[in-house]
Each structure stands twice: as structure tokens, then as C-alpha cells.
Symmetry: C2
């Protein structure tokens, strides 16, 4: 892609409500545009990053045998009345009347709808276990939407639901999801800590939230550093091994401020392992047993032919929120560097262009074609602009590698730079192999 | 995937309103489940097919340089008041008041919102041409939703928008999109005929609808057969060549019943080339010049520095509708056969299983693993059920190829069958090469 063709409205004008780094960066780099309070359009750069995050989440869901499907955004109020949450949910639920006067709503979450689908579809324990998930837009009518995509009204979320015959099996599903969440955040280049959490309005008695570390996060995090060193490769997909994994995570101290007690922290965590920082919640998992299956009458024949409410859990990851959270975790000293796995491009070629001299651009185009052939996703900055502006712009866009074609370019060697590192002078062959690492 | 694990609630119970073939098949094969009038959940089988269609549409949009982005589902009413369509749109628009009492709506289309994005982003002719598209859920509050996903309220659509400096350039964008639409439908295994169309509520003076041939379609189609034989490979991406392509299509007779005149048809089309059939509209493209850019004040500096309204077109493909339309075009004599490009699986292994004999299942699992290694997406029907039920079920699911493991299976040869064709006895090597064709 040539930058002059990319729809990327870079701007310096920031609205006063853009207070946090990720919100500012996303607006300045032309990743998003607000269309109403707490509602955003995703422009090509932001969209591409969000899609890469979505794909990693999808792959890790599939790898534990979860099946993808898709529920609609607009739901009937009837099932919410069955579960009893229609009144409880309050004003955060966007309530709608259709042209026939029927009470509808924009789904803020999908426990009711998935339970309705399940109860008409599966009748026997033989169909269990099942994990279904979808990646769909949700709406929560926040009274004060803020922080850009971090706390918006229309947001993109992966929510999964597990169905099991009994609590024991359900715990295995819960552990699988726990495992896949840690793997997902690892692949996104984020350090995530699972923390035992309150269950809140979803209900149930077992819950973890996944908090990634970012200095500008909203919650204070107190943890034993060693929790970040647990190596997932030491566990396999067996129930026994995943049980051990859960125990290993639980045995290491990690809490947010709600549960923090100073003397406990000092007693349980060695001075040199104490980690005090801020964090952002990016995932939340719940086991709530028959909280929804019972009122919604979602019954399964067990092995003795007796009908029993199916045991359920739900598991969310905020995809749109993760775009913002990744920026908070990686934007330092006015320089953004996207993790390789979700970077909008693998590398950018920054060309010094002057009206009288087309030589640099020709060189750059040659390299561009060469990298394209290797399936390297490359952006060519062919805009006529001075180099210092270009560098500032690319500090915002955050492509992790740069090739600089300017006065210092020799015949076969090029300036190559990883964000936050020093410039190297390398041959194209060396650059290719660095990019393919 | 093993069929016993797949969430696929196959059913014989059909609601009385399921009148057309695609609606019946999608319910019976467990592809969708209705959650409210005209609102569906997509279960794993249906979802997988829809995603494959989406991906082909995406690739063909990208191949003409269109850039993907994403607009939200909920819009503010303000921009619709600016364009004058807020009142015009009538009751099909789902109108919503948020908790602050602000007038919002669920987008039925996005001309206003994309114009708003463009006017704040691009100021100079140097940024043109641009084509932006998104694939997003829309809502039209139909008074009488029917025909399953063919005329539902919440539907999935690709809509693209082109931006040009003048009518001449805009026509080139229009032609590119026309070209990509024909290619898209070809890849989906559908025969699509472009027809000059009325512009309706979108406005403008140039429009085509794309109608695919299906005996159960809603519109009557009268055409000269030769329009189906135009070979896209004879054109390249240059403006001149695409202009010729448009002329070639226009020169061959093709109309729907609104414009049909018997004497004209007989005069212009040779008897042996006359095609009278039914069709389903699956795409619609419009050029409407400054219809939205003028009232919304979306201005561009031209080469002389004069401000001029940007010239726009819009281009829609109904993705969820295409799932139904593809069934209408391919479901014959109670046998469904998905086009290879969007089939839910490449091949199914149908195993005759009895409680006393596990040998067939073992053979099948060996083949399964072998095909998986070759990146062939295979479904293994490991359900205990008699073979005649199994065959009926797979006539619904519509996987284009079957390997049958039963009494006739020899050591190294297997029964292999393409839907609607005869059984062949082939070695696994031969089967592999057939599947990879």
C-alpha cells in the first residue's frame, strides 16, 4: 500500500475530552472517528489492527474446540423477562420499540439468547460438552462514555458460552477457556494477569478477570512478579494438567485495589518480587451454573434419563477495547510500537522525496516490490513532506520496522530501524531475514 | 470436525411461514434459528458459509483498491436531517431514543455517515479517487419480514462508497465496481446478470442491479443468453477496457418484468438465445453525483483551488441474503450442493456404524487424518444412525463430495461421490487429487 492512497486522516486537532493516550493517538493517527457520543467509526488503519486482534482471539477459541456462530444485535425483550434481567439491567440497556410496538433491545450481552438457542437445539448429555462463541457488536448506554474505545457505548466483543452436564465438567470448560485467554493475550504481546473477581450482575460463584499491565490503567494492581513467568508450554490440554495450571496461577499473589491489604502483600510476596502497577481489564470469565438455564428451562437428559438444567459459563474479551489497551501498554515517550502480531503493516519504507529528485522514490519502489514478493506487508510513504514530519507521523502510526531511503542510502545498503532502537545499515537480504524472524 | 461435536440442530419441524426452499433448508439443516420476527441467529454451519461469502466479497473489493473500514450500527439522526432523508425514510427506519433522549437510529444504509467522515477527512483532489467499504449489520424494519434471510430485518451487507473529483472519474469508479461485482458472483458459482435499474430512494441517474438466476426467484427475467458468456478475462483494469466492458454488457438485452415488452424481446433476441427465467437481486450499484455531498457540504479543492462537491456512488451486496440466494440457485430435487468456493466442508466421510463393528469408524478416522494433513476441510459423520437417514441429512447439508465407508469398502478403494453424480470406486490418492482440483 502507498501511503498517498491510504485513507488515513492524520490530524493535530484533538477534542478536549480526549484525555488518555490511546484516545489521543487513535484520533491523531486517523484510526477512528467519533460519530456520536461513545460511538465510533473505524477507519482503515484502526480497522486493520482490530481485525488482526479478532483473528487471534478466534484462532485461540477454535483451538479449544469452541465453535463460532453469530447472534443478532437486536433481541426481543421476552427472554430477558424470562430470566428476570429485563428490569434489573437499568438504563444501560438500549431499549427499542419496533414499528409494531414490540419491546426490543440492543444486546449488551447474550446469556439469555444463547440459552434460548441451546434449549431448542440440544436435549441429551450426549451432545455435551459444547462451547459456542460469537464476535459481535454490543451496546451499553453508558451515561458518560469516555476514554475513546475503552469505554464506549457500541463496542466489539467476543463472548463465549459453555454448556456441561455437571459442575465438574463445567470446571473443565472453565479451565480450558482460562488457558486460551492467557495464550491469546500472550500472542497479542500483552502481559495479562488473571485475578479472582467478583461476579457482579452476571452472577455465579467462580469468576476471573484478566488485567493487562499498563502504566495508565484504571485499576491498581498488586502482584507477585512470578505470576508473569508461568510457562503455558508446561501444561497440556488434559483436564488434569489444566487443573494444575489453575492451581499454579491461584497460588501466586495478584489482586486489584479492592482486595488489596498492605500487610498481606508484604507478608506473602518477597520485596524483590513485588509488582505495583496499573492495569486494564480486557477479559472476564464466569461460571454461573444454572442461573440462566433454570429460569429459562434449558434442560438436558442426563445418563439416567432425568432432566437437569444445563450448567453454563460465559467468557468475554473486549476486542475493540483491546485496541486501546494495547496502545496504553505500548505507547511510551511519544513513540508507538505495535506488537508484530497485530501491527497494521510489517514495515514502512520512509522516502525522502524532493521535486527535483525522483531517484529515492524509484529505489524505494524496487524494495517495495521485492518485499511484497516475500509476502511482507509493506507501507510505502510516498508523501512529499519533510523527513522530520514523516518520522513524527510514523511514531504515531507505530509500524514496528522502518526502512529509510534518504541521503545516507548507499547502493546496496539501507538504513533499517526498529522502533525504539538504533538505526542499522543493512543489505536488503539482511532486512528481509530480520522481518521474517 | 466430527459431526457428533458440531452444533448442528437438524430438525424436521418447520414453521408454517417457511414457504421458500432456502428458508426451509436453512432451518432444517440447523444453519439459522429465528430469534424474533425477521431476526436470525447464525448457527455454526450457516455462519461458516456466510463467512466464506464475505471473504470472497472482501477479496474482490480489495482487488480494485477499495479500502475496508467499519461504521457503527447506531447513528445519530442529525446527519439524516442534514441530507433530508430522516423524514423521507418512513417506518422502515428503526428509530431509537437513548437514555439522554437523543434521537438515534439503526443504520439502514450509510450514505450520510460516510459523507460525514469524508468531509472532515479529505480536502484536496490529490486524495482522490477513493473507494471505502464496510461489511456491517443493517436494520430495516420491514412490515412483513419473510422468506428467511432473504427478506429479514437485521441483515448483513457490504456497502461501498466512491469519491471522485468529477463525473468522468466517477464513471471509472463505477465501472471498476461493476467489474468486481461480476467477478464476485462468478467466484460464488452464481450466474449474475447486470440490469439497468431505477435508482429509487438512493437517488442519482445511473444504476444497475445484479440478478442471479434461480427458478424460484422473485423477479421475472428476460435476457439474451449471450450475456452470460461475456468473458471477463478479455478486459483489463484500464479505464478504456472497463468502458468497453460496460458497453458490451449494455448492448445485450436483459430486463426484468417492469421493463419487459414482448415485441421488443422477439425483435431484439433470436429465438434460440431467448432466456425467460426468474431471478433474485443480490447487488445494486448507484451513481448519484452530488446528491449527498451538496447538502452535507462535503467539498474538495479542485486543481484550480475551487471548492466543489465530491462526486459519489454507492455499491451494495447483500451478504446474508446471498446465503439464501445461493440455495435457491443450487437446491434441486431435494439435493443441495454448495459451490466449492463456499462449501461448509470440502468433503464428508459418511460411515456405516454399528455397535458391534468399530472397523468402519477406524478406517474412516485414518482417512480423516490423511485428508486433514493435506489441508482438506473434512467432516466425519460419526453419528450412530442408519445410512438412509445419513444420506438424507447430507442431501440437506450439501457438502459437494462424499466418501462412503460401508459394506462395499475394500482394503484400498473407497466409494466416492460428487453430489448429483454417480458413485466411483477410487483409491485415496485419486480421491485426494479429485478434491484438490
Amino acid at each position: 500500500m502507498y501511503l498517498s492512497n491510504l485513507f488515513i486522516p492524520i490530524t493535530k486537532d484533538l477534542p478536549s475530552e480526549a484525555k488518555i493516550k490511546s484516545h489521543q493517538l487513535m484520533l491523531r493517527a486517523g484510526m477512528i472517528k467519533q460519530s456520536a457520543a461513545g460511538i465510533y467509526s473505524w477507519l482503515p488503519l484502526g480497522f486493520k489492527i482490530m481485525k488482526k486482534i479478532e483473528q487471534i482471539v478466534r484462532e485461540e477459541q477454535n483451538s479449544i474446540g469452541a465453535q463460532e456462530m453469530l447472534m443478532p444485535t437486536i433481541q426481543s425483550s421476552e427472554i430477558w423477562k424470562e430470566s428476570g434481567r429485563y428490569e434489573d439491567y437499568g438504563q444501560e440497556m438500549l431499549r427499542i420499540k419496533d414499528r409494531q410496538g414490540r419491546e426490543m433491545l440492543y444486546g449488551p450481552t447474550n446469556e439469555e439468547l444463547i440459552t434460548d438457542i441451546f434449549r431448542t437445539s440440544m436435549k441429551s448429555y450426549k451432545s455435551l460438552p459444547q462451547i459456542l462463541y460469537h464476535i459481535q457488536w454490543k451496546f451499553r448506554d453508558e451515561i458518560r462514555p469516555r476514554f475513546g474505545v475503552m469505554r464506549c457505548r457500541e463496542f466489539y466483543m467476543k463472548d463465549a458460552y459453555s454448556f456441561d452436564l455437571n459442575d465438574e465438567d463445567a470446571k473443565n470448560s472453565y479451565n480450558k477457556m482460562f488457558f486460551s485467554y492467557i495464550k491469546t493475550f500472550n500472542r497479542l504481546g500483552l502481559k495479562a494477569i488473571p485475578m479472582a473477581a467478583e461476579t457482579g450482575p452476571i452472577g455465579g460463584d467462580l469468576s476471573h478477570e484478566f488485567v493487562i499491565l499498563a502504566k495508565t490503567g484504571e485499576s491498581q494492581v498488586y502482584a507477585d512478579k512470578r505470576i508473569l513467568e508461568i510457562d503455558l508450554d508446561e501444561y497440556d490440554a488434559s483436564n488434569k494438567s489444566l487443573d494444575k495450571m489453575r492451581k499454579d496461577f491461584s497460588s501466586i499473589y495478584a489482586v486489584t485495589d479492592e482486595k488489596f491489604k498492605d500487610h498481606e502483600f508484604n507478608k506473602l510476596v518477597k520485596k524483590e518480587d513485588q509488582l505495583k502497577t496499573k492495569g486494564i481489564e480486557v477479559g472476564h470469565i464466569f461460571y454461573f451454573s444454572d442461573k440462566y438455564s433454570k429460569p429459562l428451562n434449558c434442560l438436558i437428559d442426563d445418563k439416567q434419563g432425568k432432566k437437569t438444567p444445563v450448567r453454563m459459563g460465559s467468557y468475554g474479551i473486549g476486542i475493540s477495547r483491546l485496541v486501546g489497551a494495547t496502545i496504553e501498554a505500548n505507547y511510551n515517550n511519544e513513540i508507538m510500537k505495535w506488537p508484530k502480531s497485530i501491527a497494521p503493516f510489517d514495515v514502512v519504507i520512509i522516502v525522502n522525496i524532493s521535486k527535483s529528485n525522483k531517484e529515492n522514490l524509484e529505489k524505494a519502489e524496487k524494495i517495495y516490490k521485492e518485499l511484497k514478493k516475500q509476502n511482507i506487508d509493506v507501507l510505502l510513504d510516498d508523501v512529499e513532506e519533510n523527513m522530520s514530519n514523516k518520522f513524527k507521523k510514523h511514531d504515531l502510526i507505530g509500524i514496528p520496522y522502518q526502512i529509510i531511503i534518504g541521503s545516507k542510502t548507499e547502493q546496496d545498503k539501507f538504513e533499517f530501524k526498529e522502533q525504539n532502537s538504533k538505526i542499522q545499515i543493512l543489505s536488503l537480504e539482511n532486512i528481509k531475514s530480520q522481518l521474517k524472524k
